[in-house]
Symmetry: C4
Subunit: 283 residues, 4 copies
């Protein structure tokens, strides 16, 4: 009964037959019941998220408030059942609970129950949108996973540079925000330093709402400097990430192993193993 | 009579002489009548699109409504005739109808006729602007085609990464939009979750209209986070596309090995191996 | 008398001694009088441009209108004299007149004279700011020239791709602008298709003034799509230019010539000339 | 007594034992008292900056003005003592005073004392945020330093290109700003050329406040051109910085040649020549 293809689970985790097949349906992605389950799940998630979003629209809520309530409770019940099925069918329930998806699945049902205590919390049901991440399972899983792996690896490798960059941005924003508070004053909407810092972020990131805007010539001069700075600084994260992605992305790594020492990572133009000097096989 | 240089059409598609020469004029780009036809066509398209655009300006439409009507019908008649000439002169009319250009050509004439039934639809005539794509035929065709091919190939190769990126953006936007709806409430313009999501998109993409803007300190704090996130996230598509374009763009690697020492990585203009000096094979 | 170091001028262009030394001062950049001339010129340009700019400020113009008039005429007279000195001292006056700098120098003095006929034209004196390009002569000339050469070469090489990109942007903007005109109507500020196209450009480029903003849910949905598109599309010119700059920028070109055939452009790892197969000198 | 591990200080700079240990605590980062000192310092900086920022909020200042005053004086006193301790414990006080951190440390205490003379100056205390740069000492110092070194080196190497770019941006902005002043006039908010230039910067950098926006068709046409230009021009600094970062970033090229065949381009981890299989020299 035990599936020999899943060696990562040790003997004690053996599931009874029906839990095993439930596991295949819920957590698997290859058999057709598993695929059907995923498609139905994704449709349910989409409908429930859409219903929460539309339920917040005043005009719709007045007319169809009962409908939205029914939909909300229907999907919450459904996802609660699903959550318990996952708990039952998984080999290590505790590990699932603490995994990223376990937490998301839990947070996707809890706001409805909490909404008895705290009214606004039910809108947090939109967190269900994160469950859609499972959509990549129905698409060709491995391809997308490796792609997002590349994106994350590049992000991970450039995290130090990004932190240095973020610190620089924060410092600039605090300094310029305070300067603008002193220069412009409350008349132009710079009523406090935090407001000035908020304005500096709005400006440096080139968002530019225009709810607060400098009115005095000196303020506009400083603003112009921040804008050009922000326009140029955007080159920094882009440059960091591009450079890292190009390195990670590199296609010219030869996957053939050395026939002598088994080492890999040889260049395509290598005729001899760079570690042991043995001749590499000609393709 | 049959042109032996067009082997892609099979025997049954043989055209009569005048249809053959019509084909050369309408679909070709090398002979001078073909070039003249293209130039006249492009001028007609530009005038007709401009006329549709200006016809929507209230002040102009009041004065010259008859002129605009005449121009509209004149060009629609002209393009209708052209469409039928294309149908007649092409070897496989059905294939043309279903091709990208066939659909665009059809959509470029149909709104005028439909405007009897649905009033606003006539403005859809601006789709004629897509017919201008033919402009690249008069310019040095092959060069532009290969350039846009490179751009599209890079886009195609990075489509998985871009989908992962788009999913991430959508998720962030839904989560932050809902959060802002709860935090800010209707007073600041966040009247519903869809409105909050719209605001989050406006902010994350650094567009920043300012029609909806956070008023409370907590809302501004979240907004500041979204802005810095959006400012940084723009590095991701740029990095993806740059990295892919650099890979696609790289034409200067010769895969031929030196016949003497087997080394590769020679430039395309190399006649001798750069490592051992042996003559490389002529291609 | 004739300077043998300037072989690009043919015999007939020989200048008299004083014109020769004037040439050295005005067009040269090595001798100290030439450097002094450049510095004085740049200061004059800066003052005159600043004066034109400040002269347009209502409050200042009311008070100091006479001062601004004197300054304007003083610098115009000065630059007119300078222009004639350039004409006299240059070997080929006609070629100078038609050169980029010759045209800029001419346009820098003509608005003052034209302002008798057309009032607003005097503000075009700010074109003098382009004369500041000469600033790079005082700084280490060659370095900056080669840097801007790299930037321009990359721009030139990617011009086909950029044209394809611009055409795509124009098409998108016309299509979406018309769509929004139909969807939103005059109530939200979309009073005509050109206005809609203007709004689409403001949105796609992530500028986002907010003077026109969609009000209906469908309009906001389309707007959201344009924004995300614009946020992603920015990757295209950046990718194009980065890729081209990396190619142009490439530092790994060996400047050593082959001792046998004199060819250059060998890789750093080349031991043999790739054109004639001769051994390259070891460094 | 003299620490032999710090050979950069000459004999005359020998410190007395307690100053030596003070030096280790204040300027060092390896021992646990040094680490504790850094952590406490960073917390103090954060609290003091936060207090200055919140102290500028009207509603809070009215209620807690005395508290903010106490906090301000407490931290100023603390940082003053710290400044003198640094002066005492450092080997070359004058060099410290003129160093980047010495100036920042001084500017971090002086505004409180100056606020007796000039009221607004006390908000300049936020410059203390720059002292947080020391935060990178507690984190793995060397890693972050080398990362920021890479970022700065790339910035330094591309400074000529960036200057050329900035000059181009300034020229464009002055020309377009003046043009808009002439085209739009005061009615749309373009009251002077400096205002027009400010608007051009706001537009070109894609910030787009919307406080000043073109109203006439011609003005909107010019604005559309500036926007598309700004949208494209952002590719230039990004391209420059990416290209430079990729060059600086590239650590994996070994310049050592194979002792047997003279080939280069080996990886750093290579022990044998990839072309001839000969053993490479150990470094």
């Amino acid at each position: 009964m035990r599936n020999p293809n899943k060696p990562k689970f040790n003997e004690g985790d053996e599931l009874s037959p029906w839990r095993e097949s439930l596991n295949t349906i819920i957590f698997g992605a290859e058999t057709w019941p598993a695929k059907l389950f995923d498609v139905v799940l994704i449709i349910c998630i989409l409908i429930s998220v859409l219903s929460v979003m539309l339920g917040s629209v005043e005009s719709l809520n007045v007319k169809y408030s009962v409908v939205f309530l029914y939909i909300e409770w229907f999907f919450t019940a459904l996802f609660t059942v699903e959550y318990f099925l996952r708990l039952i069918s998984v080999r290590r329930p505790l590990m699932y609970c603490r995994s990223f998806f376990g937490i998301v699945d839990f947070l996707s049902i809890i706001p409805t129950y909490l909404s008895f205590l705290i009214p606004g919390v039910k809108y947090m049901l939109v967190i269900r949108v994160m469950r859609l991440l499972r959509i990549f399972r129905i698409l060709k899983l491995s391809e997308y996973l490796s792609e997002s792996h590349v994106l994350l690896e590049a992000l991970n490798k450039s995290r130090h540079k990004i932190l240095v960059f973020l610190y620089t941005v924060c410092t600039l924003v605090v300094l310029f925000g305070s300067l603008m508070y002193v220069v412009e004053g409350s008349a132009s909407g710079f009523t406090s330093i935090p407001k000035g810092v908020y304005w500096a972020i709005v400006t440096l990131t080139t968002v530019g709402y225009g709810d607060i805007a400098p009115q005095t010539p000196w303020g506009q001069l400083i603003a112009a400097m921040i804008m050009i700075m922000g326009y140029g600084i955007i080159a920094v994260p882009t440059g960091i990430y591009s450079a890292e992605l190009i390195k990670v992305n590199k296609p010219d790594i030869n996957n053939d192993a050395c026939p002598d020492c088994g080492s890999t990572g040889h260049d395509f133009d290598a005729s001899f193993c760079k570690f042991c000097g043995h001749e590499l096989d000609e393709e």
